[in-house]
């Protein structure tokens, strides 16, 4: 099990030596739990860092935010930035590097293995604890330990872990500068794509019934997109309102923005948005599950992305986040890609 002091020491050390200009990590949230992302810039802040089963945020997003932040402040990066990364965070970082969003040497990855465990799903915890509100969560082997008003409560990890973590194929951050914790790649708490497989047993009519209900609820807050490290575009194609403003953006370009969909949160527009996003994430989504977690109206967005991921894997032998150098899924092909659907 990872000792939090190791993470703090590593971060402190890097900052003290000036090897990184900041470290992106987690600290305790204002209510104790869940943890929240933090960017620390001074060695003494290292003691704020935490590592617990509520560190679910994909910190790769904050690398993107950092780049945007620098661009906005018209600053150049200078020293690399440090980041604490779980398996999925590290995969996301790989995709971002594959897409040249930043260079390998710009990032110092402090990998943390989820080992045999993972992140909790808050709703599962709430269900199990019957209303008791925990103020902290900690890894405890095969269990999680929760601090509640009534004292510590332990729950088996498998019962309260997020689905994405149960199905996780590689809980170890392969790409890293330093890695903490044991590599338990291949552990299978649940079969990969298990939820997807269950869903796919439904008929066409049932699938539509399901999805239309889900999409109908979407309020188009775009949190799913905001939280996604891969949705780093200056202007999302489905945004009919955003304006990518760079010195080069001409009046012409602004006048000719395509309105693929409208801003109205109605079913058709919501669906088009989500289909677009699923397609755009094919071969890029690393299944960190953040979109699904943040959706305020509980739309099971992971299913969509999982579907694309499994297609990529099974039909095209493609694994997102596997290599920095390889070609992107939709920019490449193999001679024997399936074509039986074509008449």
């Amino acid at each position: 099990m990872i000792n939090i002091q190791d993470i703090r020491d590593t971060a402190r050390d890097l900052l003290a030596k000036g090897e990184v200009r900041a470290v992106i990590g987690w600290r305790a949230g204002s209510r104790g739990m869940p943890a929240e992302p933090v960017v620390i810039t001074a060695p003494e802040q290292a003691d704020e860092l935490v590592w617990d089963p509520t560190c679910y945020h994909n910190l790769a997003l904050h690398l993107v935010e950092d780049r945007k932040f620098l661009a906005h402040a018209r600053k150049t990066a200078g020293a690399p930035i440090g980041i604490i990364a779980k398996g999925c965070d590290a995969r996301a970082i790989v995709v971002l590097m594959q897409e040249n969003y930043f260079k390998r040497e710009d990032v110092y990855i402090i990998g943390v293995s989820c080992e045999g465990s993972g992140m909790i799903a808050e709703w599962k915890v709430a269900r199990q604890l019957d209303g008791a509100v925990p103020t902290a969560a900690a890894f405890a082997g095969d269990e999680f330990a929760f601090a509640t008003a009534a004292g510590e409560k332990r729950l088996p990890a498998r019962e309260v872990m997020a689905d994405r973590c149960l199905e996780c194929r590689n809980p170890f951050p392969k790409e890293h500068n330093v890695a903490l914790g044991e590599d338990k790649t291949g552990r299978a708490l649940e079969a990969p794509f298990a939820a997807l497989a269950r869903f796919e047993t439904r008929s066409e009519g049932e699938r539509w019934e399901f999805w239309q209900r889900q999409f109908d609820r979407c309020i188009r807050c775009f949190a799913c997109r905001s939280v996604c490290p891969m949705c780093y575009c200056e202007e999302c194609v489905v945004d009919s309102i955003n304006i990518a403003v760079a010195p080069e953006t001409t009046a012409e370009e602004k006048a000719n923005r395509i309105r693929w969909i409208e801003r109205s949160a109605v079913k058709s527009e919501n669906i088009t948005y989500h289909m677009t996003r699923a397609i755009h994430l094919a071969g890029r989504c690393v299944d960190c599950g953040e979109c699904e977690r943040v959706c305020p109206v509980n739309i099971p967005l992971r299913l969509l992305n999982n579907k694309m991921e499994r297609e990529a894997r099974e039909r095209f032998g493609y694994e997102p986040g596997a290599s920095i150098g390889g070609p992107s899924l939709v920019a490449s092909f193999r001679d024997d890609d399936p074509g039986a659907f074509i008449r």
């Binding site: 969003y101 200056e234 202007e235 990518a244 403003v245 000719n256 070609p327 939709v330 920019a331 490449s332």
Partner: protein, 650 residues
Amino acid sequence: MTKKRTGVFVCHCGTNIAATVDVSRLAKEMAGEETVAFSRDYVYMCSDPGQNSVIEAIKENNLDSVVVTCCSPNLHEKTFRDNAARAGISGFTCEIANIREQCSWVHKNRDEATAKAIKISRSAVRRVARNQSLEPIAVPVTRRVMVIGGGIAGIQASLDIANAGLEVVLVEKLATIGGHMLQLSETFPTLDCSQCILSPKMVEVSRHPKITLMTYSEVQEVSGAVGNFRVKILQKPTYVDPEACKLCDECTVVCPVVVPNEHDLGLTSRRAIHIPFAQAIPASYTLDEDSCLGLNPIRCGKCKDVCEAGAINYDMLPKTVVEDVGAIVVATGFDLYPQEKILEYGAGNVEDVLDGLQFERLCSASGATKGHVLRPSDQKEPKDVVFIQCVGSRDPAQHCAYCSKICCMYTAKHARLYKHHVPDGRAYVFYIDIRSGGKGYEEFVQRAMEEDETVYLRGRVSKLYRKDGKVRVLGTDTLTGENVEIDADMVVLALAMQPSKGTEEAAKVLKIGRDKDGFLAEAHPKLKPVESVTGGIYLAGCAQGPKDIPETVSQASAAAAKVIGLLSSDTLNHAPTVARVRRSHCTGCEMCVTACPYKAIRLENGKAVVNEVLCEGCGSCSATCLRAAIEVKNVTQLQVFDMIEACLTV
């Protein structure tokens, strides 16, 4: 971009369009479009008065863009774009709405056809509303040409082009140029000796200062585009230095390996080291590494020992040569349809049943029998010879749907040649009908019937099999309705022509389309018969479709003329409808770079940059870019978006 003033010109095409589409309604509907400032219909837009009216309308109404609703853009896009240019506006602000091929000709219901024509036209109007005025991009060209295939087509094209002063690289797969024509004995309709007319041309090729001949070579990879292709050629080792080889033939004498001779279609044999035939160009021996015992002095090495000139070199390696050329002529020829596939005639397993080329070799003075027609099984002179036409051709159910075009003629020739060799023999020809269009062709066939007393039987041979040392041929004479049974000494099948294996390979490497029969597809069946669909790549000879020598030569010369025209100046106009990067949206993810088939995109300072000369405007980049940060000019995503809208507006 300010709002367009578009003119819409609706063509009746006589009644071709007007009979099915309500043209005046179409013109009126288009007038209701936001950007349309002028709209009219006319009986023949492409006629002189029609074209002039377009030009006048542009000038008078101050139009800046044009939509012509007429036939396929393949036919008149250029016409009307030129007109637009003549009227002083960019040709690229002119678009064609195809309401003939895609509408009036394929629908009968007037309401439906009119509704569809409106949608098609509206979508063109919407597209044009956002077309940019573009001017062609001038690209410097490489004034060299590659000809692939050294049959008569390739030879003719090479000579014509070289004589016009352009450098030619002629690539031939085999060890000698000449192609199938080299295998023919005499040629219809004049019965002059094939080699006699071909050999001088071959020699001319080998001596021509502007022609680089690369035999035993294959094209491996082609990149670039019209005006500037880069071709990688693999030169297989012949293991014989052509400069040193004295043609003394000592080596073949000692070579222990005997294999069938392809040049004689297996009627004779050759050694592992051999010369394809005596007058081969280049005049040199070739060691066929597949049949050689091992290219190794320890295993054999006899030829190397005996060669006094020291021309043999077992260590010769394949060579990759890169050539830059501005245009390519593909003349990779034909193969005969394999006899093995003709199950009804014994699938090649019945003795004394030959194909046409084998018969040519039998008749040829340089052939297996030194010009005596002797049947292979017993080397006796055959007295009853049956010729069967249309074997594999015109048989969509089992074989090729098309007519191979030359078989009627060469069968008549074969019958005559046979009669000239065996005056007391009897020649029978089974035919479906006789196609002898061509100068002197019909007369030639008549002579075969009358002078040479060939028996022409109209009908199909249903079966043939070996019986009592003869080949029993069962057929029907459909004119008399009687069954015919002939015990033949020899049967000659006029097998269909099919695109050669090399044609298939070349099409793959060059990425040029093939038609449903596998022959190379021309850009237009009537108006662009020697152009391939890819700019700068031209077609000649049987690779494009069955034809005889005169036609092959004409097409080769036509292709040569096209090439000469193309390369007549130092620059070439490249279509300006190329990709453009919206820098503010590009994140430098490199997906477009990976997707572009032409390697036309690179990253510079984290943004994609398009090399406009290499870009062909395919749009793969645009479809791949998640952010639509790269788009093809005049086919932008917004334009397609508008067109979709138009297609769904009722």
